[in-house]
Subunit: 257 residues, 2 copies
């Protein structure tokens, strides 16, 4: 966990040191998710690899730009240097670095660490030891009233038509554009669930987006399902994409799927 914390601080400092890049991003390639993102992703990956070398850490790396780097170990560090890229370009204080350590897939993740790069809020979990927000134990809602739901929904252009029916039945719907924070809000008991139902497979979630928050939510008492209602799992494969439903109260699965 110390390694993950250290790495998250290094990546935060990279992000904070790039205001010009972000400003340029707003002027030149807003909407393209272009240069500034790639720059920061690449920088973050380089920093991660250097730190692992320096500490002689027994970890492979999986990240967006470099893909899978096999350093000859059993466990892999899964990095999403900036989750919520477009928020960072827009100046919305909802974007994070998301770090997880596991072996082969989502369900064997052992360590999770998410830092909001603006507010420095930290969400973390160790498998079997609960999850924490700035050191405070988090507990997901265990009794959700189906008539009073606060849901986060995927609302991109790929959104399935059922999404609108669901939205009409919720008390509140949010789309914050940062999956890691949206998952942590469910873990923290601040919202009932987060659902992605995209008709367009290329818009669905990747394992790097969800590796950390998946453990954090489960350690807070919540669960993540695929849309057939099975427990969700995803291999550590940068190409894999999936729809899902994350909830605090598992009985919501019957209501929402």
């Amino acid at each position: 966990m110390e390694l993950l914390e250290e790495l998250s601080v290094l990546i935060r400092d990279i992000a904070r040191g790039m205001p010009d890049a972000v400003e340029r991003g707003r002027e030149i390639c807003l909407g393209a998710d272009g240069t500034p993102t790639t720059q920061i992703d690449k920088c973050a990956e380089n920093v991660a690899l250097s730190l692992l070398e320096e500490r002689d850490a027994p970890l492979n790396v999986l990240s967006e730009e470099i893909g899978f780097v096999d350093r000859g170990h059993d466990r892999t560090l899964v990095i999403d240097p900036i989750d919520g890229t477009h928020n960072s370009i827009m100046g919305v204080p909802l974007y994070t670095v998301s770090l997880a350590v596991g072996r082969e897939s989502l369900r064997d993740v052992e360590y999770a660490y998410i830092r909001n790069l603006v507010t420095d809020d930290v969400y973390s979990a160790v498998k079997g030891q609960g999850s924490y927000h700035n050191g405070r134990r988090m507990r997901a809602r265990q009794h959700s009233d189906p008539d009073e739901l606060t849901m986060m929904l995927y609302l991109g252009c790929g959104a399935h038509p059922d999404t609108f029916k669901l939205l009409k039945g919720c008390r509140r719907t949010r789309a914050y554009g940062c999956a890691s924070i949206e998952m942590c809000l469910v873990a923290d008991g601040a919202a009932d669930g987060f659902m992605m139902n995209s008709e367009d497979p290329s818009k669905r979630i990747r394992v790097i987006d969800i590796a950390a928050s998946h453990l954090i939510l489960r350690e807070a008492g919540g669960e993540v399902f695929d849309l057939s209602g099975e427990l969700m799992d995803m291999p550590f494969d940068i190409a894999a994409r999936q729809n899902f439903l994350a909830v605090g109260d598992s009985s919501l699965k019957e209501v929402l799927l």
Copy 2:
């Protein structure tokens, strides 16, 4: 403007001094928008009235809890002590105090001041003098590509079915749950527009929610329309509610309405 700045800082400090109330809100009345909100609204209104007395300021007051307080002047201070109440309860760093000074309606607002109560980002405008984000001049997008829109949409349970059609045509849709910030993102050129189309009249926007951000957007080169395409106006009346479309590039009106 000095008065608005001073008031915004006082209200921020009230909000920051109420972590226990917010925590209780999360535990006890999440979803009800109950006690903590009312407490902070009332406190903020009292502080505003005291400050106006103390400074002998020639302003009436319009606010949620007290309604219209006629202090015998031509101009009125319109206060929304917390815009984005549910974000504040959820722990999402997107809620503001929103202050405006005008005479009778939205279109004659002369001063506008919005402060994010977590990040201290400030958005302000004086009529005829442009609008500013932390001292930097803001300019709304003047050329939006209809195929690449980043829109904020009202997505509550009252959302009109046309909302989903619109959403499917946008590159990105967000629902941040804080109208003042969403308007300022359009003013800042970070998004193309913000639209509320609620079938349920009780969910539509109130003048206190939009008095400040309306001027800020127009001073940045944007415009706000009602859904018949006319320039939007609203009386300083706490009971009035309306749907609207806010855009940087006015030609988007033809595309979106």
